[in-house]
């Protein structure tokens, strides 16, 4: 009956050949403990979760990290390996190839950062790595600045999504430059996934209201006082923001206007 309501039920996030019912992507790091992490993933509704690749410690049978892969797969999550910690296109490409082999996925969250101080992406190395990985058949989700020009170049290189930052990684400062996210959104055919810097639910809601298609969070949940409750909050915030975007907000007005009817007022 309400066409709009129906369409919302079928409002899938499409990245490359993948489809997701949830528009929240979550990281798996920095939680107080694994149980809290798993419960947070669950209540957030996330389907796509990020992991890193790190060197296996020598002679440690049954160590935690091996289990992580199985545990996440058993619970039905799709894995999104990242190239966190890479400073050059070469490192990132090799890490991506290792991830593809280790996890059996062509999905890659491509991070190529310029320095450890800012953790900001290096535009030159990032674009080169994206170009190479697309040619190698990866579904590339690049973590990028909010520069609309770089976003366009990444799209032209064949990436499957644009993942601009809200603000620097781990700061929780929220969306530093909404105007840039709007420009990116308006100029791309790709899904826009806001990654990094989102600190709380209203940041998430705002990201969707700007037209962005998904969000990726980690620290905001893992370092909340109560991570599981925050994970639930973020799940609701994404639904709120997405629906508000689809609903089309009322225009802002400078002057007050009553909703209650003016006619028929008593005592006059």
């Amino acid at each position: 009956m309400i066409g709009k309501e129906e369409s919302i039920r079928d409002d899938l996030l499409r990245i490359g050949d993948y489809e997701f019912g949830s528009r929240v992507l979550l990281g798996t790091a920095a939680y107080p403990n694994r149980q809290t992490m798993l419960e947070s993933l669950k209540v957030s509704g996330a389907e796509l979760v990020t992991i890193s690749l790190r060197r296996v410690a020598p002679n440690q049978p049954g160590n935690q990290s091996e289990n992580l892969y199985r545990i996440l797969r058993e619970r039905g999550f799709t894995l999104l390996p990242n190239t966190a910690g890479c400073f050059s296109a070469r490192e990132a490409v090799m890490t991506a190839e290792m991830a593809r082999e280790a996890l059996g996925t062509d999905l890659i969250k491509l991070e190529v950062i310029a320095d450890e101080e800012t953790l900001l992406p290096d535009p030159h190395e990032l674009l080169e790595a994206a170009d190479t990985l697309v040619q190698k058949g990866f579904t590339v989700l690049p973590y990028t600045s909010d520069d609309p020009v770089l976003a366009r170049k990444l799209e032209d290189a064949g990436c499957a999504a644009i993942m601009p930052l809200a603000s620097p990684i781990g700061t929780g400062l929220g969306i530093a430059n909404p105007h840039n996210l709007s420009i990116i959104r308006a100029r791309t055919q790709l899904p826009v996934v806001v990654d990094a810097g989102l600190g709380t639910a209203s940041d998430v809601t705002q990201a969707f209201e700007l037209g962005c298609d998904a969000v990726l969070l980690n620290t905001a949940i893992a370092r909340a006082e109560h991570p599981i409750t925050m994970a639930s909050a973020i799940g609701y915030a994404a639904k709120a923001g997405r629906q508000a975007y689809l609903a089309g907000r009322m225009p802002k007005k400078t002057h007050a206007e009553s909703a209650s009817p003016l006619q028929g007022r008593a005592w006059r």
């Binding site: 990281g27 798996t28 790091a29 920095a30 939680y31 992490m37 990020t50 992991i51 890193s52 690749l53 790190r54 060197r55 296996v56 020598p58 002679n59 440690q60 049978p61 049954g62 935690q64 990290s65 091996e66 992580l68 892969y69 199985r70 894995l79 390996p81 990242n82 966190a84 090799m94 890490t95 190839e97 290792m98 991830a99 593809r100 082999e101 280790a102 996890l103 990684i169 980690n218 620290t219």
Partner: protein
């Protein structure tokens, strides 16, 4: 032979296959979520048993850990 594994020099018997070295190095039997590069080239799981190593080879053995 001397192998460089994850950036550290390690001594192993000669004539071990890649699989055997990985087993000894990691102490694991299952390799879910793990990948290996030999001298900068990824070696797919199926070839671990048939890949031989020689001294000064460099191995990166990585696996999935939590990440953001």
């Amino acid at each position: 032979m001397i192998l460089r594994i994850n950036g550290m020099p390690m001594e192993y018997e000669n004539d071990l296959t890649l699989l055997e070295v990985i087993q000894q190095q990691t102490g694991q039997k299952q390799f879910d979520g793990m990948a290996v590069a030999l001298n900068g080239e990824v070696i797919i799981r199926k070839k671990w048993e048939t890949t031989s190593l020689q001294t000064k080879d460099s191995l990166e053995i990585l696996q999935a850990v939590s990440g953001g």
